[in-house]
Amino acid sequence: MQVSPLTRVIALTRAVLLTVALMLVQTQPTSAHYQYNGAGQWRHTSLTWCSYAASIYDGPTASAASSWNAALRLRVNQVLCGPEDIGTYSGDYGCCFDARTVICVVTGGCFSAIPINSDYSYVQIQYNSPYMSNMTDQLKQAIACHELGHSFSLFHVPDTNPPHIMYGDAAYVYRTFGIYYPTIHDLDGVNARY
């Protein structure tokens, strides 16, 4: 059976393309250095936050917000309350969490779990006073920084190699690595999304 030169060229090209494609797939990152809450995000990059929380949380939150302003385009600045994009609250919520973030979306509803795939309309951060009120300011800042990361679409990373403020336990990251600010990997995640 005679094979035409054109057919040979096409077969060779396909083989080369498949080989290159396989090489590309194999060089994809094997572990994520940042993850997202879902496809949802802010539609503007100049965000505001204000405090409805006890004053002991304001300094650490302001410092945490400033540290996120190392991002390329996203900015978050403190304003007087109403209206704001991000509101911080504190109270005796009893057990279970040091702090939590709830994300409200433009299509309606607020969410405490991923995936959140609609654009954000409001974010509420709640500091749980039984656990947080006696923390040092740096530890409070670590937790504020982590919650603000959720506000900027970032979700938890699965491990601390390398360390991130977005690891699921911000207090552990602070106590183990002394980190209370976004690392380059956390900022990469924000810069890739905004």
């Binding site: 057919t7 096409i10 090209t13 396909r14 393309l17 498949l18 290159v20 494609a21 590309l24 797939v25 994809q28 990152p29 572990s31 994520a32 940042y34 993850q35 997202y36 809450n37 879902g38 496809a39 409805y52 509101g87 609250y89 109270g91 005796d92 919520y93 009893g94 057990c95 279970c96 969490f97 040091d98 702090a99 939590r100 973030t101 709830v102 994300i103 409200c104 509803g109 607020c110 969410f111 405490s112 779990a113 991923i114 995936p115 795939n117 409001y122 509420q124 709640q126 749980n128 937790i143 982590h146 919650e147 979700f155 938890h156 699921g168 336990d169 911000a170 207090a171 552990y172 890739a192």
Partner: protein
């Protein structure tokens, strides 16, 4: 035709190269809570006001702690104590668990809600006197992700997939775990 296939492959490759950033974690359901963890059974025992193995009789209501657009919600259960290991919670009492069914602002996949008829070992915080929970009833909260263990055929399993005490407790018999607790209480 074959040139078309080659072009399609090239397009796929280009798309592959463009997606070099890590994939988003869209496939799982996990929450945006920064949990307060307890690292050892001894710390858990010492931090609890009461410890009891109970049967969940029924869901008895909900408790809401106000605050902004997304109040924190707890599900309340009436429970009956089978064995009390610490404190004096009473023969029956109200058990509060963080979370509420059907409330997306209070959904915690890693801390599934209890169901009626479940036998569970719980580490409890007495919130009866706290302003946010005070209504004259005796009420206890599960202390956190490390605070609840389901008993099935005499063996323990952490209610939460995120409990740091899973290696210590999961798979052990009720009597083994209760011995560890009583040892830490003394």
């Amino acid at each position: 035709m074959r040139l078309g296939v080659a072009a399609l492959l090239l397009t796929l490759m280009a798309a592959c190269g463009a997606s070099a950033s890590p994939a988003a974690s869209d496939g799982s359901r996990e929450s945006l809570a920064d949990w307060h963890h307890v690292d050892s059974l001894t710390d858990l025992v010492q931090s609890a006001d009461a410890i009891a193995r109970v049967i969940v009789v029924q869901k008895s209501g909900e408790e809401i702690v106000a605050g902004g657009r997304a109040p924190v919600a707890f599900t309340a259960y009436q429970v009956r104590a089978l064995r009390v290991l610490k404190g004096e919670p009473g023969a029956t009492f109200t058990l509060l668990q963080l979370g509420r069914a059907g409330d997306t602002a209070n959904t915690y996949p890693e801390f599934p809600l209890l169901t009626s008829g479940t036998e569970v070992l719980v580490f409890l915080r007495d919130v009866s006197q706290l302003p946010n929970f005070q209504d004259g009833r005796r009420k206890f909260q599960i202390v956190g992700l490390e605070g609840a263990y389901v008993v099935t055929q005499g063996r323990m399993r952490s209610l939460s997939s995120e409990s740091k005490l899973r290696p210590v407790v999961d798979g052990k018999t009720t009597s083994e775990v209760e011995s560890l607790i009583l040892g830490a209480v003394r």
